[in-house]
Symmetry: C2
Subunit: 482 residues, 2 copies
C-alpha cells in the first residue's frame, strides 16, 4: 500500500497543485460545518498538518463521525490552493478510508494543551503530540549527524559492552545484571553470593561508560567512537538525570589535549549546524514553544536568548579556551561571588565548579561557549594525564549557555608509572584492570577522548527543560514502564 | 600532534612520492639486516601496512632495538618508490620517535598465526590483528550504511528502552536488572521479593527486542527504526548465539507484508553493496582468510562460493518469494528428505524449519536468496497478522546462503479483537500490555516490520565462522570480561 502514499512533508514542500494523490495519517483535529469537514492530518513526517477537505454530503454522517482526533485515515483526492488561512494548499477528498477509530471519550490526547507531566504518564502515545514528535525528529537528525560526522572523519564506530564485570568507574552506582531468581539467591560456603552459579559466573553490571574499552580499540584503530546506552543507578530525581541515557564517546590515538578540544568544538558546531539546516520547521515550532513557556516564568528565570540565538551563539563563536586556574580567578573576583549571590561561593583554587559558575563564565563574562582545561587532579578521574605542575591534569570541559557542562574529556595518562601510581592513590584495584594497563605496557601512545551525553545535547538543541522529554521512554527511580 | 600526521590509508592510496610526511602507528613486524631495518607499520586505518625503512647507522642500535612487534612509533621521512616486492611505495625515515615499547617476551601478539580461540582470551588486544581489525572496519561500514539507508528513506531512529518492566516476549530468557545487594534481597510480608524497594520499584529486565515500543513510535511517526543492544539469557554455547547482541528493527505504518519484503530486500542489498563499494581491501583479505580456513576442512564442509561470490549472489538475484506451504512441499519431495539426509526429516505441514532446510532451499533448490512467507500461526509470535485461512500468519523470513535465516518479520495484527483473542490463546497477560493494545484502540493502522541481527549480517559479509569474532567484547555464558 505504501506505493500509493505520499508523505505529508512532501505534499507541503512540493505542492503539486492539481495532482491527485493519497495521504495517510492520524487526525489531529476536525472542524465541521453542515456542508464540509476540515481535517488536519499528520503522518509524523513533519510538524505541519495537511488540511483534508471532506464534503459532508459525499461522505455521509456515518463516516465523518468516525473521523475524530486520533483516528487514522487514508484520503485520496486532488491538491488545490487553499481558500482558508493557515495553509497554502489542501486536499479535496474524493475517497476516504478510516483505518482505526479513536473513541473521544477514551482517547487521552484531545486537542488541548496537555502538561508534559501528564504526557510522561502516557509515554506510549507521546509521539502523537506536536512537541514530542518534533523532539523525536530532532533527536533522529542529531543521531544521524553524529554518525555522519565521525564517518567523514574516518572514525570507526565501536560497540563497547553493555554488560560488564569491570566496575572501576562505577563506584556503587551501577545496576547489577543477574540471571538468579532474586527470591532465592544461591550462597557459597562463606555465606556470600555464589556468583559462580550466575549466568556470567561472576558479578556483572551495566556499563557506566564505554571509555576504557574505547581506549583499547583506539590503541589499534587510531580513531574510534562509541554511541550507546549507559546507566547510572543514582537516586536523583532532577530535570538533568536519567538512569538510562545515551553517550557518545570518541577516543583518538595521537591526539593531545588541544587536538581533543579542536575536535569537540568542531563536532558540536557540526551537530548544531546540521539541526539548523535539516530541522527548520521543528526548531521554529520548538522555539515558539519555549518562548510561550517562558512567559509563565518570573522575569529573572526567562532565557536571555531565543532558541535560534542560542544555537547561533554556539555556531558563530570561537569557543573561549581558559585554564581552570584563570577561571577561578575570574569567578573569585566576580560580582555575584563578592555579593555572595552564588549558592556556592568560590573561595579559592581547588573548588569544583557548579552549573551557576559555568553559566556565569559563558553567559556573563565571556559571552561565548567556554572550554575550561587543566583541572585540579583531585577533582578528576584517575585516567587523566598528569601535568608537570603535579597539581593539575589535562582535562577539559565544554560549557554551553543555559546548560553548563555539555562535554567532558581529557588527554589520557599513557605513562605506565604515572598511571599505576595514581590508581594506587585513588584505590583503583589494578588486578581488575590488567587489560586496561596492557595498553600502557604494549605500544602505548599519547591519546585523548571525550564524552557527550546525547540527551544533554538534545535538551540544548530543542530548548526543552526536562531530560525526560527528550528520550522516548525515560528511566528514573521508580520508573521503567513500557 | 594530529595535524602533522598522515593516515597510512591515505599514504597508500595517494602515494605522494617525493613528499615528506609523518606517520604514526604500531609495528607489525621488523626485518633487519646489518645496514637497514624494514618496519611494517599499521595504524588501523587500513588492512595494509606501510613499509618504513630505517638506516641502521643513522638511528643506532639502541633505538632500533626498541622497535619490535607491538611497539608504537612516529616516523617522518620521504615517500619513495619501493625497491622490494609486496609494496609500491615506502617511507625512508629521517626521524623516528618511539612512543611505547612492547617487550617481546611479554607481548602476546607475536608475528605468527594465533587461533581465534586464543585471541578471544585477549579480546582487549584483538583489534591489533589483521583479521579482527578488518572485521571491525566492516562492522563500522555496515553500521553506517544502516543509518544512511534509513535516513535516506526518511525513517526516524528511535532508542527503545534497554531496561524494561515489559517481559511479554522474553519468556524466562531475560536478565534481571536490580539495585539490590544480592547477598541481602529484601522480602515482603508474603516472603516474596520486595520489589517496591528496588530502584525501579518493580521487577525490571533487559530488553529482548525493541519491536513493541518501536510500533508505538511508528503509530505516530510512520517510519522508524531501532538499532541497539538486545539481550538473551540463553544458555547456548554455539557459534551463532550471544547473550548481548545488536539488533536493527524497522517498523512501518501503512506497510503490508509485500511492502515489508520489498524494504527488507532493498536494505540487505544496500548493505552488501555498501560493503563491496567501501571495504574492498578488507573483504579481499577476509576472502583469502576464509579460503585458507576452508582448506583445513573436509571437502563436504567447504563453502561452495567464495566470499565475494556469496555477496554478489545476494546483490544480483531477485529474492525468490515462496509461501511456507510451497516450501514444505518442495522439502518433502526433496532428495535429502527422501533419503533421510536431513537431521530433521520434514513429515508435513506445520513443521518448523531448521537451518539445513533453509540452506537447501537457498543453495540447492532455488539458487537464490529466498523469502518464505505465510507461516503456520502456531510456530510464530502473538503479534503477527492472522490470514483469512485461519491457519497462517503474515510472517516472512529471509534466508541467505551459508547462514539460513537472516531477517525475520511480519505484518502486525492491527485488529483489536483478533489480537486480544490470540494473546489469550497464547497466555500473554493483557493487563501488562495495555500500553501496546492502546495503539490498536486508538487510530490503529496496518503496519509491518522486521528484525535483522546485526552480528548475523556481519558474519555473512565477513565470512567469519563464529559470532564471537564479529563483536568487540562477546558476552556468553561465563564470559563478561573487560
Amino acid at each position: 500500500m505504501r506505493e500509493k502514499r505520499t508523505k505529508i512533508k512532501h505534499v507541503l514542500s512540493n505542492e503539486p497543485l492539481g495532482e491527485s494523490l493519497t495521504v495517510m495519517g492520524w487526525v489531529r483535529t476536525k472542524r465541521a460545518s453542515k456542508s464540509v469537514a476540515f481535517i488536519a492530518l499528520n503522518d509524523g513526517s513533519s510538524i505541519n498538518n495537511l488540511q483534508v477537505v471532506a464534503d459532508a454530503e459525499k461522505f455521509g454522517e456515518e463516516l465523518l463521525r468516525k473521523i475524530t482526533t486520533g483516528a487514522s485515515i487514508s484520503a485520496t483526492g486532488k491538491l488545490v490552493e487553499s481558500q482558508g488561512a493557515g495553509q497554502t494548499c489542501e486536499l479535496v477528498a474524493e475517497q476516504i478510508e478510516v483505518f482505526g477509530e479513536a473513541d473521544p471519550d477514551k482517547y487521552p490526547l484531545q486537542p488541548k494543551k496537555h502538561s508534559l507531566e501528564f504526557l510522561r504518564e502516557i509515554a506510549h502515545l507521546r509521539p502523537r503530540t506536536n512537541t514530542f514528535s518534533a523532539v523525536m525528529r530532532v533527536r533522529h537528525a542529531l543521531a544521524f549527524a553524529v554518525h555522519q560526522f565521525f564517518n567523514e572523519k574516518e572514525f570507526f564506530y565501536i560497540n563497547t559492552p553493555i554488560i560488564t564485570a569491570s566496575d572501576a568507574e562505577g563506584a556503587g552506582e551501577t545496576f547489577h545484571v543477574t540471571n538468579f531468581d532474586l527470591a532465592n539467591v544461591p550462597k557459597n560456603d562463606e555465606g556470600g553470593v555464589d556468583y559462580k552459579q550466575d549466568f556470567f559466573e561472576k558479578e556483572a553490571n551495566l556499563t557506566v561508560s564505554g571509555q576504557l574499552e574505547g581506549e583499547l580499540a583506539a590503541m589499534a584503530l587510531s580513531d574510534i567512537y562509541t554511541f550507546g546506552p549507559t546507566f547510572r543507578a543514582e537516586n536523583s530525581n532532577t530535570t538533568r538525570h536519567l538512569a538510562e541515557f545515551w553517550m557518545i564517546e570518541p577516543e583518538m590515538a595521537f591526539y593531545d589535549l588541544k587536538d581533543n578540544m579542536d575536535l569537540a568544538e568542531e563536532m558540536l558546531k557540526y551537530l548544531v549546524k546540521y539541526a539548523l539546516d535539516n530541522c527548520a520547521d521543528d526548531l521554529a515550532f520548538l522555539e515558539k514553544r519555549a518562548a510561550d513557556e517562558d512567559k509563565n516564568k518570573p522575569q529573572n528565570e526567562r532565557a536571555e536568548m531565543t532558541l535560534t540565538e542560542r544555537l547561533r551563539f554556539v555556531l558563530e563563536n570561537d569557543f573561549e579556551r581558559v585554564s581552570y586556574t584563570e577561571a577561578i580567578e575570574i569567578l573569585r573576583n566576580s560580582k555575584p561571588n563578592k555579593k555572595k549571590k552564588f549558592s556556592y561561593v568560590i573561595e579559592g583554587w581547588g573548588a569544583d565548579l557548579q552549573s551557576e559558575h559555568e553559566r556565569f563564565l559563558v553567559e556573563k563574562h565571556f559571552k561565548k561557549p567556554v572550554i575550561l582545561f587543566d583541572y585540579p587532579k583531585d577533582i578528576k578521574a584517575f585516567y587523566m594525564r598528569q601535568n608537570d605542575d603535579e597539581k593539575t591534569v589535562g582535562a577539559m570541559d565544554i560549557l554551553f549557555p543555559g546548560i553548563g557542562e555539555i562535554v567532558g574529556g581529557s588527554q589520557r595518562e599513557e605513562r605506565m608509572d604515572k598511571l599505576s601510581q595514581r590508581m594506587e592513590e585513588m584505590d583503583i584495584p589494578a588486578e581488575e584492570m590488567e587489560w586496561y594497563l596492557d595498553t600502557r605496557r604494549f605500544g602505548a601512545v599519547p591519546h585523548s577522548g571525550f564524552g557527550l551525553g546525547f540527551e544533554r545535547m538534545i535538551l540544548f538543541v530543542t530548548g526543552m527543560g526536562n531530560i525526560r522529554d527528550v528520550i522516548p521512554f525515560p528511566r528514573t527511580p521508580g520508573n521503567c514502564e513500557f
